[in-house]
Structures are given as C-alpha cells and as structure tokens.
C-alpha cells in the first residue's frame, strides 16, 4: 500500500514544520522516537549553551547579527523564546565589560544550521517512508525502522 499524493504532502509538510518548530519533533512524528529525542536534546543543549555563554540579549540579535539570526531562527521555538527573553532583559545584560558573545553566537548559530540538516533529513524520510498498517487497517503516519 502506498501513500496518496495528498497524504504524502501532508506528512512531509507536518514533519518539516514540526522539525523546525522543535528540533527532533519531526523525527518523533515519523515514529523515530529515540532518534528524535537525541536530536532534541543535543540541539537544545547547543543552542541554550550558547545563550548561557553570551546572554540572550547579545546572542540573539536580529539587528546586530542578521546572518547569524537567520541561522538561529532555524531552531524554531528556541530562537523565538531566546529573542523574547533578550528583549525583555535588555537593560540588565549590558553590565559586563567583557563578553563571550562571539562563542555564544557561534554555538546558537551552529545549532540552527544543524537543525537545517535535521529538517532536510526529516523531509527525506517523510517522503520515502511507506505507510505502516496498524490494527483496524488505517495507515499510520509512523515508520518503524532503525530502532
């Protein structure tokens, strides 16, 4: 049994959106829970590790570092939360004379670029996967492989 074009497009779109919104969630949606949890933890740790080093105000700044911000936004909700946090706490973050923001920006930016890789992987897996029959006969959007 094969996916219809509509089912396949829906599956690819939902998986890609979830993978952008929360890194790793796209794999979990496809039924690859362990893989998704690994990606979720590692990308979140990389992004928030960077924010912890440089502070949200200086690390996630679309005006000062537009290109890096584009990469950071690839982490979805992480970047949006950090951006909001940075705007809220803008006044208190300027009290240190020496900052670790360069390393911090690289960390959070690389986390975003890694999630681009993850999104591409999710899209590829979603487009290739065959439906799995579950009890009752309706196709499930999950794929059991590589567990």
């Amino acid at each position: 049994m094969a996916w219809t074009d509509g089912q396949r497009m829906t599956r690819i779109t939902v998986a890609g959106f979830l993978a952008w919104l929360v890194p790793g969630l796209g794999h979990i949606y496809l039924g690859q829970r362990h893989r998704g949890v690994i990606l979720l933890v590692v990308i979140a740790a990389t992004f928030w590790g960077g924010v912890a080093l440089g502070g949200a105000t200086e690390t996630v700044d679309p005006h000062k570092r537009t290109a890096w911000f584009m990469a950071q936004v690839s982490t979805g909700a992480h970047a949006l939360v950090a951006w909001r946090l940075g705007r809220t706490a803008e006044a208190s973050a300027s009290m240190y004379s020496w900052r670790a923001e360069e390393v911090a920006v690289v960390y959070s930016g690389v986390a975003g670029l890694l999630n681009l890789l993850v999104i591409l992987d999710v899209l590829a897996r979603a487009s290739q996967a065959a439906p799995v029959r579950v009890r009752g006969g309706t196709p499930s959007p999950t794929r059991k492989r590589a567990t």
Binding site: I38, V42, G49, G55, E58, A82, A146
Partner: protein
C-alpha cells in the same frame, strides 16, 4: 519573563582566550552527534561513529593549528 529564567541565560559569561578555544570541543561533539544521528540507520552505530568523527574533527583542528603555529614561527 526574565524572572522565570536563570540569570545566566540573560547575562554573558566571562571566559578567557584559552577557554574560548576549549569551547570548540563540545561544539564539535554536538555537530558529530547530530550528523551521525541523521546518517546512521541503526541507532547502535551512533556512539562509536560519533566518537570517531569527533576525534577526527578535533585532531584535524589541532593539526591545522599546529601547522599554522609552525608556519608563523618559521615566517616570523
């Protein structure tokens, strides 16, 4: 919102030059884990291949750094 978050997420840390270089090591580990998690079909293959890739990247960076250092000393 900032009340809910630890201060470390708002304010920048103080790190020295050497620590900045050392911070590349966990970053390479993250890159290795994510790359191998997407590439390995069997999850059991991920740990070893991740360590191998991580060691390769770090060794490569150290090698390039040493080469640049020697070149700098010879040309100075």
């Amino acid at each position: 919102m900032s009340v809910w978050f630890p201060a470390m997420l708002v304010m920048s840390a103080q790190i020295t030059g050497v620590q900045r270089l050392l911070l590349l090591i966990p970053l390479c580990l993250s890159i290795s884990i994510v790359y191998k998690t997407t590439r390995c079909e069997r999850l059991g293959d991920i740990p070893l291949s991740t360590i191998a890739l991580w060691a390769t990247i770090v060794a490569g960076m150290v090698g390039v750094g040493l080469f640049m250092r020697v070149a700098f000393l010879l040309l100075a």
